[in-house]
């Protein structure tokens, strides 16, 4: 990693960030090339959607939200999970977490960029998105929860972008960041993290038309699953950083993260059990969606293997993380974190959104499968998100590394 002498000025900062993120070893360039390829695939696929409309997706009037909104919902959780690093770092002044909090914030910004992109590609009239901007558009606030969601997501993006930017910019210049100045915003961002979760859950929870979603456990379960999936992803990110850069991560951090993941994952499973009990102990008309999801309905079973895979993987990885059979061996814990992340993605994405819309309010059952366009656009957005995360973390680590050396 380069360690140039501190320079002054915003221009130099921007220049350096760009230079750091365009230069690097062969492996890094290949990785960047793959991301660009992914984004290009996404743009190519989206061009079909722009021309022929959302008819090129697998969605229809019954399943009117699909893969895009599923990913959006899940990623809101990932974004909010940064709070699990911010909270101990800034409130409890945990020195271990303080060192990695910037990485959590980078992941949050990337996740938010993906969230907003998923919303944009899901719009039938993306060119009319300006109708949402308060002032020049017509913002249905406070009535529409989607209007709330636009506010909280963009606000959280600003908070998670600007606070680290302020800190990094100061460290870049070899100065200490003034904690008095950014502390109020850190507090705000902690409350805000819970709000992006709850508001996104309310988006679904507030629809009496959809009994599967109209469930008061939705919000709390969003929190629990995200506080498992988010830190699981951050664990993986930290492990990668530990292995391929000079920025070494203390083992204590992994232990603490494991505890957070285990507690959240267990709460999540208890709530899942509670939901399943409610749906199936005495099945009513309101349990039809859950029946479709877990057992299939009228011969339509496309989500049954999906959800059982998700739940099995979820339980096994939670048990592995809880009982820690490898005695903190990363070769056991890292795959477990990865599998837990994927299991929650499966359940809190498609497993939550699609069955909410099936059967239709008139009882019609159809299956939903994303088309290649949806898959490729999603690949593009994931590549975009990874690019953003990579840019932010690479710049942050170089600056922090240099600042640490400057202090010592």
């Amino acid at each position: 990693m380069k360690s140039t002498t501190p320079r002054q000025g915003l221009m130099a900062f921007v220049q350096d960030v760009i230079i750091w993120n365009t230069t690097g070893g062969f492996g890094l360039q290949v990785y960047r090339g793959l991301l660009v390829l992914g984004m290009a695939t996404g743009i190519f696929a989206y061009s079909f959607q722009a021309r022929f409309g959302l008819s090129v997706t697998g969605m229809n009037d019954i399943v009117s939200w699909g893969f895009y909104i599923s990913n959006f919902t899940f990623l809101v959780g990932v974004a909010a999970a940064a709070v699990m690093l911010i909270l101990p770092a800034y409130i409890f002044h945990d020195p271990d977490f303080h060192r990695v909090v910037i990485i959590g914030e980078g992941v949050a910004v990337g996740a938010l960029v993906m969230c907003l992109s998923f919303i944009m590609v899901d719009l039938g009239g993306p060119l009319q998105a300006w109708h949402l901007i308060p002032g020049i558009g017509q913002f249905n606030f406070p009535s529409s929860i989607l209007a709330w969601d636009v506010l909280v997501l963009n606000g959280y993006l600003l908070l998670n972008g600007l606070v680290p930017l302020y800190i990094l910019y100061n460290h870049y210049q070899g100065r200490k960041a003034d904690e008095k100045k950014y502390r109020p915003f850190v507090f705000l961002s902690i409350f805000w993290a819970f709000s992006i979760h709850m508001v996104t859950a309310f988006l679904y929870q507030g629809l009496p038309a959809r009994p599967f979603w109209n469930n008061p456990l939705m919000g709390p379960r969003f929190l629990a699953s995200a506080f498992a999936a988010g830190p699981a992803l951050i664990t993986l990110a930290l492990a990668i950083i530990h292995h391929i850069t000079d920025y070494k991560i203390d083992q204590k951090i992994f232990k603490k993260l494991r505890l957070i993941i285990v507690v959240s994952a267990i709460i999540n499973l208890i709530m899942l059990f509670s939901e399943i009990f409610k749906e199936f102990y005495f099945p009513t008309h309101h349990s039809v969606s859950a029946t479709y999801l877990f057992f299939g309905l009228h011969g339509h079973t496309s989500l049954v293997p999906w959800i059982w895979t998700s739940i099995s993987v979820n339980i096994v990885s939670t048990l592995v993380l809880a009982f820690n059979p490898g005695k903190d061996n990363p070769k056991v814990l890292l795959p477990a974190s990865g599998f837990l992340f994927v299991a929650i993605w499966m359940e809190k994405g498609i497993g939550l959104i699609v069955p909410g819309l099936i059967p239709s309010p008139l009882g019609e059952v159809v299956d939903y499968l994303p088309t290649w366009v949806e898959l490729c656009v999603t690949l593009g957005i994931f590549s975009l998100g990874l690019t953003v995360v990579t840019w932010l973390i690479r710049a942050a680590l170089i600056i922090e590394d240099r600042y640490e050396k400057l202090l010592s």
């Binding site: 959302l54 939200w65 039938g124 009239g125 109708h131 017509q138 529409s144 989607l146 959809r210 008139l362």
Partner: protein
């Protein structure tokens, strides 16, 4: 049905626009002139050929349409201007002479609808009339009205067959139709993030197609499956297009926007019945003004046993079912 003049106008036949009122034509002329001016300004030169002028004009029209306001914030003048633009666009793009109305609600009117379960025999004439009247997408087979063939002993359309395709009526079955119920407390209106859907003073829940961003939250919020999305650009054979349109009603929807039953706003605001009511051969459909004590709908509500779908949700639909 005098207004339905799909008839003999062969495609491309250059019939002149019927003179409706001079004010609108004057405004139209004005806006065309304005559009042509701004187009030539935009391209930086005066168009030399008619074709260039036309494409410049189209561009100007699109530009002005893109930045127009929400329908409810428009003055009558602005409404007239956007209508003139839309009519001109249709003329330029497909040679169609449309008449798009912006007629406001009538005074002291609240529309209500009642459906006679005993009488309906499932002919689906209502569906066919609705598709024609409202310029519904033929390729996507969009239907505002769905008719369900029901087993005795059930009253929830969810238990019926919405895809029946055989001779009707069938012995020992009955038929129930559903469409947008124009709820007084409509979940869709509450959901819309841009206020692109609202309830008019006469009780009709409408969509401003040009203000809708296509997020489909209203579709998820509707407990009655009342809304339809334009997943692709609607396709309707040119000779079948109903040219008598309303801004909030049956004008041809852009791609990626939500649409729904409007109680045929283009007809009912002129004192006519919705197309489905007029088309029904069995007289199962009753439509009228709930505020008029002498109306047939009030008679039904007073003298028949009526019920509404999913009353437990508190949406207060303006659509009742009744049994003779």
């Amino acid at each position: 049905m005098s207004n339905r003049k799909k008839t003999d106008d062969a495609p491309g036949n250059d019939t002149t626009l019927p003179v409706q009122n001079s004010r609108r034509n004057f405004l139209k002329g004005l806006s065309i002139a304005a559009a042509a001016c701004s187009a030539s300004l935009a391209t930086g030169c005066l168009p030399t050929t008619a074709r260039a002028a036309e494409s410049g004009e189209q561009f100007a029209l699109q530009w002005q349409e893109y930045f127009k306001k929400h329908y409810r914030l428009m003055t009558q003048k602005e409404k007239d201007e956007t209508v003139a633009r839309l009519e001109r666009q249709a003329k330029l793009q497909s040679g169609l002479d449309l008449q798009i109305s912006t007629q406001a609600p009538r005074e002291n009117v609240l529309y209500g609808y009642a459906f006679n379960i005993t009488r309906c025999e499932g002919f689906m004439e209502c569906v066919a009339a609705c598709i024609k009247e409202n310029n519904l997408d033929r390729k996507a087979k969009t239907q505002y009205i769905r008719v369900f063939e029901m087993e005795p002993g059930q009253l929830d359309p969810g238990t019926g067959d919405g895809k029946y395709f055989h001779e009707v009526p069938v012995d020992n079955k009955f038929y129930m139709a559903v469409q947008c119920f124009h709820c007084e407390k409509a979940p869709c209106i509450k959901a819309c993030p841009t206020k692109a859907t609202w309830r008019e003073p006469d009780g009709i829940v409408v969509v401003d197609y040009d203000w809708c961003i296509g997020c489909r939250y209203c579709q998820a919020a509707c407990p009655y499956f009342g809304r339809r999305f334009n997943w692709a650009k609607p396709s309707i054979p040119k000779e079948e297009i109903n040219r008598k349109q309303h801004y909030l009603g049956n004008r041809i929807r852009p791609m990626g926007k939500m649409e729904k039953c409007t109680f045929c706003i283009q007809r009912t605001r002129e004192g006519k019945l919705p197309a489905c009511v007029e088309a029904c051969p069995t007289g199962s459909r009753v439509f009228g003004n709930l505020l008029d004590p002498e109306s047939e709908i009030r008679f039904v509500l007073k003298n028949k046993k009526v019920f509404r779908m999913k009353e437990d949700l508190g949406t207060d639909p303006k659509f009742w079912y009744f049994i003779d």
